[in-house]
Amino acid sequence: MSETATSAAPAAAVTSGRAAPAPTHRSRSGEARTAYLFLAPYLVLFTVFVLVPIVYGLWISLHAYDFTLPEQPFVGLDNYTGLFDGSSPFAGPFWNSMQATYLFTVLTVPLLLVVPLLVALLMNGKFPGRTVFRAMYFAPYVLGVAVVSVLWRYLLDGNIGLVNYYAGLLGLPDTTPWLTDLPWAWASLVFVTVWWTLGFNAVIYLAALQEISPDLYEAARVDGANAWQRFWNVTLPGLRPVLIFVTSVTLIACVNMFGQSWLMTQGGPGTETRTAIYQIADTGLTNFTSGAASAMSTLFTLSLILVNIVIFVLLREREGGRKGARR
């Protein structure tokens, strides 16, 4: 459809250029022509690097596609069935990586929904230095995964890391293998991810909190609601639209986790912390078995869409139920 948009542009330009050299700006075809010209640069990028790849990815997944070989024979659904019946050499590693991804997601998402909310509530209100605090908690997010991972790899180093040193001072075990053994590796990956991205969600929550009308709190107080009741009946419903956004964004970010495990644990111990993206990138871009990697990424995407739909429906329904109850 956007193909029509892009290809129609030059055609329209030619026709009107010939027939009507000076159309009025308000004329419909003139405006359409202008619109396509405005859209053209972006639509070229969008078509080549978003639309075509979506279709191309599916096509690749139906072929025994190896980047390094001259022929890429069509194999139908073999890449998919191989992952399900175990006949593909990637079946085991793939499902392990899916499991790792969803374990990481289940551990991280709830923390990234609740902790930033607590931080936002703490900062919601006028006090001196508020913007400074807000900036400080947001700062790690602007650093990017490479810096954050390298930094925490140092701090969590089992032998010379700060974390074990201070744990020792507090009388706790001071030789915890934070990055090289389970369950510590997962704890580290989850903690670092929360530390890194907490500020992003907190800032969104904070903005949403400030959109809630103070009158609602006033009315609740007049009705004799205590702090907890005010939170439950005013704050949470006010946050609900944003909650869908935050949940969705956080979920997508967590299932796409890659850099932390690539840099901090190298997927280890063994391949325990190898996430799906890690496995897909390794299969497709290091070993060049792109057919198998594309099939993996299709399955991965489908699973993600499914989870997102479930969450969306759940949050939506609860919202509807709430409104109904109040009326």
């Binding site: 690097f49 978003v50 702090a227």
Partner: protein, 309 residues
Amino acid sequence: MSTATSAAPAGAGRERPGRRPAGTDTTASGRRRGKGSPVPRILAYVALVLLTLLFVSPLLYMLVTSFKTTADAGSATPQWIPDSPTLAAYREILGNPATPVLRWFLNSLLAAALQSLLIVATAALAAYALARLEFPGKKLVTLLILATLFVPPVTLLIPNYLIVGQLGWLDSLAAIVVPGAAGAFGVFFLRQFFVSLPPELEEAASLDGANRFQVFWKVILPLSRPALATLAMLSFLTNWNDFLWPVFTLFSPENQTLSAGLSTLQNANAVRYDLLMAGAMIASVPVLVLFIASQRYVVEGVSRAGVKG
């Protein structure tokens, strides 16, 4: 997901970033505090200070370690003030031809600046058409662009790698500038902003005989400076920090970006934390400075995209 597309009310972005809606001062906790005991307030401050420590001390330790000798950086007893501060780590990574950090820095800078420019230019044009012009297929184009906001990046990873390979762009600047500019966020972000601008201004200009492009260039763009700056900044940060894509599309040491280069540095020097922290500092300082200078825009941009979008 539909909240993201439909909830943006007209007028959302009308005010300049940094504006405060009337009544912000009297938020719930602001009032609650007025009559309560000071204890919760003190507890809140204690919590804020502890959190601050948790956020600032790792970054501070990164800074401190980058000025340590190799031995001190690898010592089991942390030194917050180095015994013998030195620039040796910086000198070593900047001077090592296997890890040309200065070159990586320039690559990162160039890639992030070019992509940011490309995004702002193409997204502004497209967003204007979607916000203000009428044309057949408008709804479909809008929907398609917005729908891809929710396509997980991994869907594009393998095919885009092959497309970039077929274009002959692997291991080049084009690979890390162009494909990433096709994302839908910029168009979506600016469309919301343009929709909120009062149409009267454009009508006045076009009555004066300005064509659509002149209206866009002379009326819309100047009015949109804060939104354009926010988008440029967010795009710059995203590209500067991107990791997965450059790690796989850039091979030569001299073509790396800083964030991808850090993994080279890590693999080449597994336990040289003085070098790693110096490299991490070089990758951090520009974005931290950019962030501190434009903190308001970045944070506003993020919260506007989340709350109003």
